[in-house]
């Protein structure tokens, strides 16, 4: 019920924004640049919340909490070397993300896939996409519409840790959920 109220408010805000002929001025998040002419037609314009969410279910950046707490759900998931399968510990958190996304169909997530520096750059770009897809597949199979999700692989190009040892590599092999 509460989520439906939030959603109605978000949609109403969007209508107001569109009516005012200003699609970006009131947004709190940067507008995602268009992918270009090849963008999939099923990607509807994101009805981003334009009002601060007063609910305790998300923080000020719109990232969801564990239900009933003010503790953020983990949004970064780590992988073994050369692997793209989620760990058992990640699944509970992803299940809660799925629940949040089902309840908030106006929210979109960009799932980034990343790799450590070992191996060739182009192959790692493909491996990073596999990691992003592992998160996407889980969320879709948990009932999240694919239109709320987008994946992008950065391969080894955007490390979290610039080091050159396993401590850094472990932090760099990751998928990251970015709520929009």
């Amino acid at each position: 019920m509460f989520y439906q109220w939030i959603r109605s408010l978000a949609l109403a805000s969007l209508v107001l924004v569109v009516a005012a002929g200003c699609t970006s001025g009131t947004r709190t998040e940067p507008v995602e640049p268009s992918v270009g002419p090849t963008q999939t037609p099923d990607r509807t314009p994101p009805p981003v919340d334009t009002t601060p969410v007063s609910s305790a279910s998300v923080d000020s950046n719109g990232n969801p909490y564990f239900p009933g707490t003010s503790r953020l759900l983990p949004r970064t998931f780590y992988y073994a070397y050369d692997r793209a399968n989620l760990g058992p510990d990640d699944l509970a958190a992803l299940e809660m993300h799925a629940s949040f996304l089902r309840d908030n169909p106006g929210r979109r997530v960009i799932i980034e896939g990343h790799c450590d520096e070992r191996g060739t750059r182009e192959y790692n770009l493909a491996l990073g996409e596999r990691r992003a897809n592992s998160v996407r597949r889980f969320l879709v199979s948990a009932g999240v519409p694919g239109s709320q999700l987008e994946t992008v692989s950065f391969g080894e190009e955007r490390p979290e840790d610039a080091g050159h040892a396993e401590s850094a590599w472990g932090r760099n092999r990751r998928a990251v959920m970015l709520y929009r």
């Binding site: 995602e32 640049p33 268009s34 992918v35 270009g36 002419p37 090849t38 963008q39 999939t40 520096e117 070992r118 191996g119 060739t120 750059r121 182009e122 192959y123 770009l125 493909a126 491996l127 996409e129 596999r130 994946t151 992008v152 692989s153 950065f154 391969g155 190009e157 955007r158 490390p159 979290e160 840790d161 610039a162 080091g163 050159h164």
Partner: protein, 443 residues
């Protein structure tokens, strides 16, 4: 006169060298360290060229030529301080001065303003033992082409003595990354002479740049830019700087590589859900899907005859190199030694590959004879990647790490000659060696 020259030449050289150091651009790649060379190197003397006041601003050409020849590992240029005379004209050459130093070849030259706003450099190469003129030629650079002129002379000397076309007068493009893993990370596409000098920026972004590659005409480069937050394949003219977006499909847009005739680009797209090889015709931008497999297919490259595509695939469980026949889509696996072989490039003879090869957990650049299945590791550094062949096939440039920093390095095809091109500006990677650039003319 000879005595006077002996006295003056070192002063002239030092003065010119100082001027050149000041003129060098801050972002150029740093001093080259030669790790190795051949046991038997050809002894050559490159005498400081006559560069009068009318050549104000020109770098010392003999230094650039000497450095080029030394970097090949095949030549041991005589130090200028050890020369007994400094001839700049045929009449000043006394072969015994060079014979007693064991010099096999002698290069002399002189530059002059040609009165039409440009310059002309005349040069001669002598075979000392036979007291014979091997080459007498000239090159006419404009004021901003001095280094190209020197590289072109080095190319001519190299070819005259080794019989192999020189590749000194070529360029490299590469990616320069700064502030990795920080919020102010930057990514730059850079172009420089093959010796790392005269670096300049082609494109700067706060998002990753990947996979630069040359068009066979040497006028354009293609690369991957994440400037929109997603990967797109871009085409850029290196002279005008004009940029054009070739693809920006959903998913991966990566690994562009021009066909040998320059009319097509092979690339990787995951727009249909999985990374596959595609070929785009540049005339009409039409795409043709080449691979159909649920595994990762990536890193395409063309055979020199344009009839085959090499690519990396993990369809066998681990990344290996495959070859696809464009006529019938028949796919053949080429690598079997080791559990990680990737990003192959084929040599001009169509019989050998260079690629990234993991051995004992360390990534090296390797060479392979395809028919004999004979793999040789060429590099002894680690995290080696992105090999790119010099247009004459004698050497390859690749990316590696030294003291935690990304640097470029070069190795000869037999693994015996090695040098490095580090950058003080940041991490450099993904080098691509240009095709032959047009030579400067003679006026």
């Amino acid at each position: 006169m000879k005595q006077l020259l002996r006295t003056l030449a070192p002063i002239l050289v030092v003065g010119l060298l100082g001027g050149w150091m000041l003129a060098a651009q801050a972002e150029s790649l740093d001093t080259i360290i030669i790790d190795k060379g051949y046991d038997k190197q050809t002894k050559i003397a490159v005498v400081p060229f006559l560069q009068g006041a009318d050549l104000n601003g020109a770098p010392p050409l003999a230094d650039i030529i000497s450095a080029d020849l030394a970097r090949s590992g095949q030549f041991a240029p005589l130090e200028q301080g050890n020369m007994l005379s400094y001839p700049t004209d045929r009449k000043q050459v006394f072969f015994r001065d060079w014979r007693i130093l064991g010099v096999e070849y002698l290069l002399i030259g002189r530059g002059r303003a040609n009165g039409r706003g440009g310059f002309t450099v005349d040069y001669q190469l002598f075979d000392v033992f036979n007291e014979r003129e091997v080459v007498a030629a000239a090159v006419s650079p404009s004021a901003d082409q001095w280094r190209s002129a020197a590289h072109q002379i080095a190319d001519k000397v190299y070819e005259s003595i080794t019989g192999i076309r020189g590749a000194f007068n070529t360029k490299i493009v590469y990616v320069l990354g700064e502030n990795a893993a920080k919020s102010n990370a930057t990514y730059a596409l850079e172009i420089a002479d093959a010796d790392g000098a005269q670096a300049r920026n082609l494109f700067l972004s706060d998002q990753p740049i990947m996979s630069p590659t040359w068009a066979p005409d040497g006028q354009q480069v293609a690369y991957v830019s994440f400037e929109t937050g997603r990967p797109a394949i871009m085409l850029q003219n290196i002279k005008t700087g004009a940029r054009e977006q070739l693809t920006a499909f959903k998913g991966i847009n990566s690994s562009p590589v021009f066909s040998p005739d320059g009319k097509q680009i092979a690339m990787v797209l995951s727009r249909d859900g999985n990374p596959e090889i595609y070929v785009m015709s540049l005339a009409d931008r039409r795409l043709r899907r080449i691979t159909r497999h649920h595994s990762i297919d990536t890193e395409p490259s063309w055979s020199p005859d344009g009839k085959h595509l090499l690519f990396t695939s993990d369809r066998g469980g681990k990344p290996q190199i495959y070859q696809l026949d464009m006529a019938n889509n028949f796919v053949e696996r080429l690598t079997f030694e080791g559990d990680y072989n990737a990003r192959a490039r084929m040599l001009e003879d169509g019989k050998h590959l260079i690629f990234v090869h993991r051995r004992n957990g360390v990534f090296h650049i390797a060479w392979m004879d395809i028919e004999r299945d004979d793999v040789r590791v060429l590099t002894s550094t680690s995290l080696d990647e992105s090999p790119s062949l010099a247009p004459n096939g004698s050497m390859l440039i690749y990316a590696t790490q030294s003291q935690g920093k990304g640097i470029l390095a070069v190795v000869s095809m037999d693994g015996r000659v090695k040098y490095r091109l580090p950058s003080s500006a940041g991490d450099v990677r993904e080098p691509a060696w240009s095709p032959y650039m047009g030579d400067l003319g003679t006026r």
